[in-house]
Each structure stands twice: as structure tokens, then as C-alpha cells.
Amino acid sequence: VDDADAHDYGLIWRESGATIWRAVYAYAGGRRDVADDAVAEAFARAMARGAEVREPVPYLFRVAFRVASAELARRSKEDGEVPDIAVDVSSNGLPDVIHALRELTPAQRASVYLHYRMDLPVREVARLTGMSTASVKVHLMRGRRRLRDLLGAEDDA
């Protein structure tokens, strides 16, 4: 069996690609090109490693975060700071959320999105991001406080 056939990455892309992409998109503070590149690279590396990758989805998350992290660091190094590019406006309310997310650190953004939007337990967030559970808890606490300040704490209902 060809290693490349060990996992059906086409199926994984259809089932989980958008989820992974949105997590990286949040992590990158709404920088679509960073998310696109990181997720494409993660899938490419996973496919290149074939059967060596035992759990593709966690692997894809971690690699995508790492690639995105490297790209953000590279831009920051070159430009002094990550440029505040235009925000995707394909969805109502998205710009406000993105602007608020950019007030958080990347790790806070990823933790908040995975925990509060994807409803993943802290341990799973830690697994997907490569952080310790203790670190995730700290990022969640700080991210939550900041978002409360920026987006409001009161119930919408």
C-alpha cells in the first residue's frame, strides 16, 4: 500500500478542513493568506508523510499552527509588526470579531476559538495546539477577559 493512501486526505479536507482553517484563521487574527498557506502546508506535509501520521487531524492542527506561527513571526520581523490587513467582510459581524481577536495574542486567539467556539475541552485544546493544559487555561482566562471588555459580557438573549 502506498503511504500516501494511508489516509484519505480528500475526505479529511472535506470533513475537517474548514474547521482547521477557521482555527488557524482565528489564530492568525483574520489573516486569510496566512491561514490558507498554513493549512495547505499542513495538508501537504501530512500527505508527504503518509502512513507515518497516525492521527491526521491533530497533526494537521499542530503543523498548521506552527506554520502560521512562523509566518507571523517572519512578518513581524520584517515589518516590525504584523500589518493590519483588510478584514474579510463576507459575514456580518466578522470585522468586529476579528478586530477584537487582534487584541489578543495568537495563543489566546487559538485557545478561545477552540474552547469556546468549537467546544473542545481544555485538554483537547492543549493537544491540538501543543501547549500544556495549564497554559491553555491561562490563555483562556486572559482571552475571555479581553473579549468581554471588547465585545460585551451581557447575555444577548
Partner: protein, 625 residues
């Protein structure tokens, strides 16, 4: 009900990846590997400053090995040896010969340097270590510091023991790390300076933090390695890895510490208990190659027992060894049992390793040439046994020591204590000329001390030895466990604190343990409610269970149902729970359930809260009724 900010995260669902992402993935990886990427100067400086601060702290906490040069005594028990890529001076000499242009040696495995014979560069050896042992594909090295450690003992044949030297007889020397003027930054030269001006032979070291990846991001695993030259200083001498450190793993031993066969090593860590692997590798020859892995596992402590030399082995009395621990990722391949010895086929998320020396009993090893070995203490074949106290604790102790119950005199505040004394002397001879004893006490009557979270276990001998009695007759410390406060004292009579006695006391103290808790188990007034590391129930830095709420540091478990219909509890305040009822009334309580005097009618009843503490193995213990 969902807070507004959280609901607005749903807007992220409106964003989608570009259409060509998966098509691009099929074109293969586009980001090339960077063999040894160098971070920016600013990054290095910032990292180095932070590292130096941590380093200064570490010096005060962890022992620093005093290094020796090749010219000194070459016996295993007296020379600091590396953990990688060689572990003996013979191995180092073979590496040196190879680096000088010789053949690849056959006795030691240096094949990882075959295509890059750069053993003369500390960074290259560290980089190869990351590739081969840590399984990292794109390691990045950040220099932390370099310079010289000097032996504070100042003797002509300086000790290679840990720094500061353990043991209450000497006490920690008031030596401080010094950065030489004009040498700030990553290349700073440091030394240990003692007030009496003593010095020892300097040896060079260099430390690097190694990250997996080139972004230095928070997501990347990292370790700190100490590099040194075992054969001589300066250019043209090979570099080796002395030790490997991870900030979340405390191996409980220091470089070159002597361990006895059968001794237990407690390794503390803050990783997922299921992912940490640990062991001790003893011996560096074909005839003596022993391995021991975890034989006791608790939430954040694992124990490894130093193996004994099997019959027929050719282990010498002193054998080089190393204690190691690592966390394996879940990527392909599966970690080997000992990545230091065998390399790693997968990416490790963390690693710590430190060289030690294992001493076997003289009658258990083959005769060896011990000429030149500085023997610090006369070994004795001591059998150990276990004692379990009615109070719930257990210790290991030498089987020729004595255990007897003791009671302390009533204190001024009416407290009386009961305890158990473990002593080297027979208590039927009440006036020994010398000896040591250890007593564990707990209050029986008197003012009740507020319950507090358990201290971490195992207890550390250093923590006890840090606080000696003023008259030099011993030490005392307190600790909490299972909701009770305990006292622990060590008493020394005459010249009773021999090295063997101190070694025994250390082992007794560090073996003191309590049984793990299970859900629903009750001991005394405390019942184990839930393991705290069940992170899925955590919200707001607190734990929300189906019917109760607990916040770390508060010490009370609170019912989730407020005394009126409304929006539910607000636990976000620092002073206590707050509720707004449907009819507009507001109520506030203290964490212990006492209502605010300003509460309106219907909100003046104390809450039915329960005291709660954290057990040593991270269970939430609740006192009911």
C-alpha cells in the same frame, strides 16, 4: 445562557478557506527545512536576558556541578561525565580522535556525526542532539550563557559534588553567581564567587535553549542543554552534552550526584501523567548496561528505582549513569524507551536528563581498580523496610532503626500533639551519646488550624535542611496533607549526623507519602469529590460541577442553585457570589456563605457551603456536614 462575546465568535463561521487550498496541498510541502536557523539579535538578547534571570534563580534552586578537567582523578566516582554523545572519558577520547581526523570509532556510536564531523562546535553538537535524540526536524538554537563554574570548595582536589554542597553540616555556602564586567549578553562569562575567596579549577560551559521550529513561538517545545568539554578547554577539544533541562520536569537529582543501587528517585513534573516516561540508565560498557523505568506513578510524580547489579554482571563499583524523563508526542514511530541511548524516532515534546554516578555495594560487583577514587563515605549494606502510621502516612526506613510513638508537651495555646519517632538509637536507652531521629507530629487537641491544600509530595530534604535549629541540633518543618497540618523534626545528638545517617534521613523524609484518593473516598471529615485535572468542567479559572462551584484558593464548595429565580450566580467577583433575582433584588455573600448584611429579605440566609481543599494528588476534598 451565552455571553455576548462568546456568541459573537459565531461570526467566524462565516469565513471559509480559499478554493485552492487543498489543490495547493497536493503540490507538496513548500516550506523548506532550515538546518540551524539563527534568530534575530534582538530575539537572542531578549531571550538571553530572560534566561539569565531564570539562570540566576536556578542557581539558587538547583545544584550546579563543579566541573573538573581531564588532568584530575579519572575514576568514575570523581569525574563529571556527559550524557551524550559519549558517556565515558574513553568514549570522549575516541570522539576526540575521530574529530581530529581519525576513523569513526566502533566502540561508541558517533554515526550521527558521520557526515558532519563538527564535534569541535558546541552549537553543532547541541543541534545534532536535537535531531537525533529529541527527534526534532528543524531545531533552532538560542545561546543562553557561557563561562566558567568554579568549585567553591577550593581544595586542591576539589569535590565534584553538587553545588551548593548538600548537607546541614556545611550549610549552603554564601556563594553567588557573578557576571564578569563587560561581558553582558549571551556571551557573558559567569562564575561562582564565594566570600572567602576560594576557587577551584575552572571548566567551560555553554548553554543553549533549543526550540523545535524557527519561530520561537509559544507552541514550540524547547529544552535547555548544557554543553561542556570533558577533555580540555578551548578550540580543538570536543564538546558534549552535560545535561538537558525542561522547566516542567524536576529530575530530583543533580549532575554527578551519587546514587545507591536500590535508591528511589522521585521525578516531579507538570505534564500529563500518561505521557511522561522516565528511567535511569546505568553503565556504559557491554558487560554493565542496566535500565530501570517508572515503578511508581502518581499524578505529578513518578519514581524510578536505581537498579541493582545482577549476578554475573561486570559492573564496577562506580558506574556512570543518567536519569532521564521525556514526553513523547503522538506523531509517528513511537518513542524508544531511552532516547539518549537509542535516539528517537519521533518528536519529543520535552526532555530532561542529568548524569549521575551509581554506586553498587562492594560485594555485588566485580573487583575493579579503584585507585584514585575519592571515597566520601563508607558504604554499608543497609536493608530497608516500610512503616505505615495510623495517621495515614508511610515511610521507608533502615530496618535497624527504631519506631516508637511519642507525644509532645501541651503548648501554651492548649494544643497537644501526638507523633511517631523514627530513630537510629534504641529508645530504651534514653541518653545516647550520638544518633539521629525524625519525628512526625500532628495536633490532637487545641485550636483548630484552618484547613489548607496539601503540600506537594515527595517532601524535599533541602526544604527541611534549609531551616536548621539555632543550636544546630536539627531541623523542623511543617507540611499539610489530607486536610491536616503535620510537623516534621529532625534531632541530632552528638556526632550522630554521619554521612550515612544523613543519607538515611533524606531518604526517609523523601519517602514520606500518603495513599492516593479515589472519588467518593472519605478519610476523617474529608471526602474526595472529583479530580481537579478533569479540565472539561473548568470555567473562569474555577470548577463548575453539575450542582456546585469551586474556585482555587477560595476553599469552599458552593451550591449552584441561588436562593431566588433569576439569572443565576455571578461568581466573577473577588469577594464572593452575587445574584440578581427576577424581581430585581440583589444578594451578595462571602465565599464562606455569610450573607451581606445589606441583603434584602429572602436573601439573608447563609449559603450551605462546604469547606474544600486540594489533596496532594489533586483531588478536590470536601468536608460535609
Amino acid at each position: 445562557m451565552t455571553e455576548r462575546w462568546r456568541k459573537r465568535l459565531e461570526h467566524l463561521d462565516g469565513a471559509s478557506p480559499s478554493d485552492d487550498v487543498f489543490r495547493r496541498a497536493n503540490q507538496g510541502p513548500q516550506v523548506p527545512d532550515d538546518p540551524v536557523p539563527q534568530p534575530s539579535t534582538s530575539t537572542r538578547v531578549v531571550t538571553a536576558i530572560a534566561a539569565l534571570a531564570i539562570f540566576a534563580l536556578a542557581i539558587s534552586v538547583f545544584a550546579i556541578p563543579a566541573l573538573r578537567l581531564r588532568e584530575q582523578v579519572r575514576g568514575t566516582g570523581d569525574v563529571l561525565l556527559p550524557v551524550w554523545p559519549v558517556r565515558t572519558l574513553d568514549g570522549a577520547e575516541q570522539a576526540q580522535a575521530y574529530a581530529d581526523g581519525g576513523e569513526l570509532p566502533t566502540d561508541v556510536d558517533l554515526s550521527m556525526f558521520k557526515w558532519s564531523p563538527n564535534l569541535f562546535r558546541a552549537d553543532a553538537v547541541a543541534h545534532t542532539f536535537a535531531l537525533h535524540v529529541l527527534g526534532w526536524r528543524d531545531p533552532t538554537l538560542v545561546p543562553l550563557d557561557s563561562g566558567t563554574y568554579v568549585d567553591p570548595s577550593g581544595s586542591s582536589t576539589p569535590s565534584t559534588g553538587p553545588y551548593p554542597p548538600p548537607g546541614p553540616t556545611q550549610g549552603p555556602p554564601a556563594c553567588t553567581p557573578v557576571t564578569y564586567p563587560g561581558s553582558a549578553g549571551p556571551s557573558a562569562s559567569m562564575s561562582i564567587e564565594c566570600p572567602d575567596g576560594t576557587t577551584g579549577p575552572p571548566s567551560p560551559f555553554r548553554r543553549f535553549t533549543i526550540y523545535d521550529g524557527n519561530s520561537l513561538s509559544y507552541f514550540e517545545p524547547s529544552v535547555t542543554v548544557t554543553m561542556y568539554q570533558p577533555l580540555g578547554t578551548g578550540e580543538g577539544n570536543v564538546w558534549t552534552v552535560l545535561d538537558v533541562r525542561d522547566e516542567r520536569i524536576d529530575l530530583g537529582v543533580v549532575a554527578n550526584e551519587r546514587l545507591r543501587a536500590g535508591q528511589r528517585v522521585a521525578i516531579r513534573h507538570s505534564w500529563d501523567p500518561d505521557t511522561l516516561r522516565a528511567g535511569i540508565h546505568v553503565g556504559a560498557s557491554e558487560g554493565c548496561d542496566l535500565e530501570a523505568n517508572i515503578d511508581a506513578l502518581e499524578m505529578h510524580t513518578v519514581e524510578v528505582t536505581v537498579p541493582t547489579a545482577p549476578l554475573g554482571s561486570t559492573c564496577e563499583r562506580y558506574e556512570p549513569a543518567y536519569v532521564y524523563a521525556y514526553v513523547a508526542g503522538d506523531e509517528p514511530g513511537g518513542a524508544s524507551a531511552d532516547p539518549i541511548a537509542d535516539g528517537s524516532s519521533q518528536r519529543l515534546l520535552a526532555m530532561a536528563a542529568v548524569p549521575v554516578v551509581v554506586r553498587f555495594p562492594s560485594d555485588a560487583v566485580a573487583p575493579s581498580d579503584e585507585e584514585g577514587i575519592v571515597e566520601p563515605e563508607a558504604p554499608s549494606q543497609v536493608q530497608w523496610t516500610t512503616y505505615s502510621d495510623e495517621a495515614g502516612w508511610t515511610v521507608d526506613l533502615p530496618d535497624d532503626w527504631y519506631v516508637h510513638l511519642s507525644a509532645g508537651p501541651p503548648q501554651d495555646d492548649g494544643t497537644t500533639t501526638t507523633g511517631t519517632t523514627i530513630s537510629s538509637n534504641d529508645p530504651s536507652h534514653p541518653s545516647p551519646e550520638s544518633g539521629v531521629s525524625l519525628t512526625v507530629t500532628r495536633p490532637e487537641r487545641g485550636p483548630t488550624e484552618a484547613p489548607r491544600d496539601s503540600d506537594p509530595f515527595p517532601l524535599r530534604w533541602e526544604a527541611l535542611a534549609r531551616d536548621p535549629n539555632r543550636d544546630g541540633s536539627g531541623w523542623a518543618m511543617g507540611f499539610a496533607a489530607d486536610g491536616a497540618g503535620y510537623g516534621l523534626t529532625v534531632d541530632v545528638v552528638g556526632d550522630g549526623l554521619t554521612p550515612d545517617a544523613e543519607t538515611s534521613l533524606r531518604r526517609i523524609v523523601e519517602s514520606l507519602r500518603f495513599d492516593p484518593w479515589t472519588v467518593g473516598e472519605t478519610r476523617g471529615r474529608w471526602t474526595a469529590y472529583l479530580p481537579l485535572d478533569d479540565a472539561s468542567v473548568e470555567r473562569d479559572g474555577s470548577l463548575e460541577y453539575e450542582s456546585t462551584y469551586w474556585r482555587e484558593g477560595i476553599g469552599y464548595l458552593i451550591p449552584m442553585d441561588p436562593p431566588c429565580a433569576g439569572a443565576g450566580w455571578d461568581f466573577s467577583g473577588s469577594s464572593g457570589p452575587h445574584v440578581v433575582c427576577e424581581d430585581g433584588r440583589e444578594g451578595r455573600w462571602r465565599w464562606d456563605g455569610v450573607p451581606n448584611p445589606a441583603n434584602l429579605e429572602g436573601l439573608t440566609t447563609p449559603l450551605d457551603v462546604s469547606p474544600a481543599i486540594v489533596s496532594w494528588d489533586r483531588f478536590l476534598l470536601v468536608a460535609r456536614g
